[in-house]
Subunit: 339 residues, 2 copies
Amino acid sequence: MTPSLSRMIAQAAGRLTFPVKWFTYGRRFRYEQPQKGRGREFFQWDIDILGTDSFAADAEIISIAASFYKKLGLTPQEVKIKINDRKFLQEKLSAMGIDPDLTLPLIKVIDKRSKVTPDNFNTMLTDAGLGTEKVSSLLNILDDKDGYKNSEWLTGILNIIKQYGFDDYVEFDPGIVRGLDYYTRTVFEGWDVKGEFRSIWGGGRYDNLTQDVGASQTIPGVGFAMGDMVMEEVLKKCGKFPALTVNKTRVLVTVFSPELFDKSIELSNILRRENTLTELYPDPRTKLERQLKYAARKGIPYVAIIGPEEMEKGLVTLKNMSNGEQKMLQKEQVVKQLI
Amino acid sequence: MTPSLSRMIAQAAGRLTFPVKWFTYGRRFRYEQPQKGRGREFFQWDIDILGTDSFAADAEIISIAASFYKKLGLTPQEVKIKINDRKFLQEKLSAMGIDPDLTLPLIKVIDKRSKVTPDNFNTMLTDAGLGTEKVSSLLNILDDKDGYKNSEWLTGILNIIKQYGFDDYVEFDPGIVRGLDYYTRTVFEGWDVKGEFRSIWGGGRYDNLTQDVGASQTIPGVGFAMGDMVMEEVLKKCGKFPALTVNKTRVLVTVFSPELFDKSIELSNILRRENTLTELYPDPRTKLERQLKYAARKGIPYVAIIGPEEMEKGLVTLKNMSNGEQKMLQKEQVVKQLI
């Protein structure tokens, strides 16, 4: 979505108040070979801040992803966000005497590192134009987990994330570069700690994209996209996939007989007015026994019954379906019991 | 969606607990000439009860539509639901000596009545095979607003709707027949009272459809579908289209200077923990004046400021953007003020 978003922002730039905070969630389609965690139809969440080149925006975006992990019940022992800075890498490559034109091709090679063997990776770097010495220097950079300490940008981001309270989820990884051309600085990826899924989502800063697609001036941006399918797999693997409530109904108001249907409608009106999730059994001719079976199968926790005895006394029988207990109550008591 | 739903139900019938209550809401696509209130891409809401031939289900479905009107703020003086019973009409046609095979072709003609002149309508009925006398008898049926009184089915539905409290929204209309083949009994349509839009949504009972598409036995159903585009037009016409909140943010926590950014993060953490919708300005280098302008343009009602004086006193300045009033408060007071 990032290029589409950038086009939208470029077109509307004159009418917008920057910085723009934006998100979208919806169904997406992708024409590629379906595989586990990657389908042709899926849901995706995109979130971006445009109009500021402050790393505070990067820190906020990354913290949003971390707070999402937390809400899902995923722990820092299960999932991480790995971050890096492409500009920082580029400066190191420059210092090694590597031609700036080689940066993007090298980034695409580095992005594939976790998919290939160390030997193959070395060959790929050599093929990209690096001599043995430079390959060795680059490997040192890619393995230096403390490298961020010399980067004001990265320490700045990590410091803010710490103040947001999400530092356990986030770590510097000099090998994270992202394959896309348009990222200019911060890049980050979601990973499961065991590494079973590799990158589970990703994002980064794209300071030139909006101008590249038509804005009359630079409109820097940072954001990420996350799909539902891999997240579902990760949640299942971690045993955190939420149980979906099949039926939220709190009470089934049964209908004792067609003659007493009015009484059941009246009760369901009262319950619905109190925002109690109420089903009124939709066929007054159905035997009570079958209505109770319906409630049991649907997992509805309470059943209300108004038969001739209840009607005469002006009461309602409320049955707790989990323990079978039933009591004859005033309507007001039924309402209270079900809140 | 009804035929697709029926296919789903037919396939899953063995696993389902009937009656099934079902709804869906989502984006739909339609390949036809776009016109006002009818686009190629739109949203549609479908809701159905399957597995009972009780008219209590029809009454519940119609009442759901009426309660939706009510929630939107549309009054019975602005919108109605017109109902009829195809079987009741068919019996009357039968009594007139009209061949049952003519019923469906006649229904399709009757469905077009409101789109043509009375003369053209008469011609269409004649073309469909009715003699002058039968045309006249049929017109009497179609104009008899009290005709429902002889129908147990229709009086039954209207009686339940009355008990639900939605009778002001619902009326019998012998001219409502719906054009679709699969409706078997109750048919109903949403109308604006002024008749500017004609039918704004519709539904009905389809007792044979699920068996027709593969179920091994009859699974009766009743439901309706409602699109967003016409409803939007109706709401606008009635002056009831809800104002959309562009920005729900309750408070912008500004950043006085990069040195004081930590204090602003701390405050926004506290506010967010209390579920106060909080924006932290994402660039600590931006002048306070511009941050206030951002809040004003975005319609954010409150702005929090922590400058050197506030920091020294351990306080926060809270500014009400609508009247310009500002007070220096304890953090706890800020939280309370913003709840």
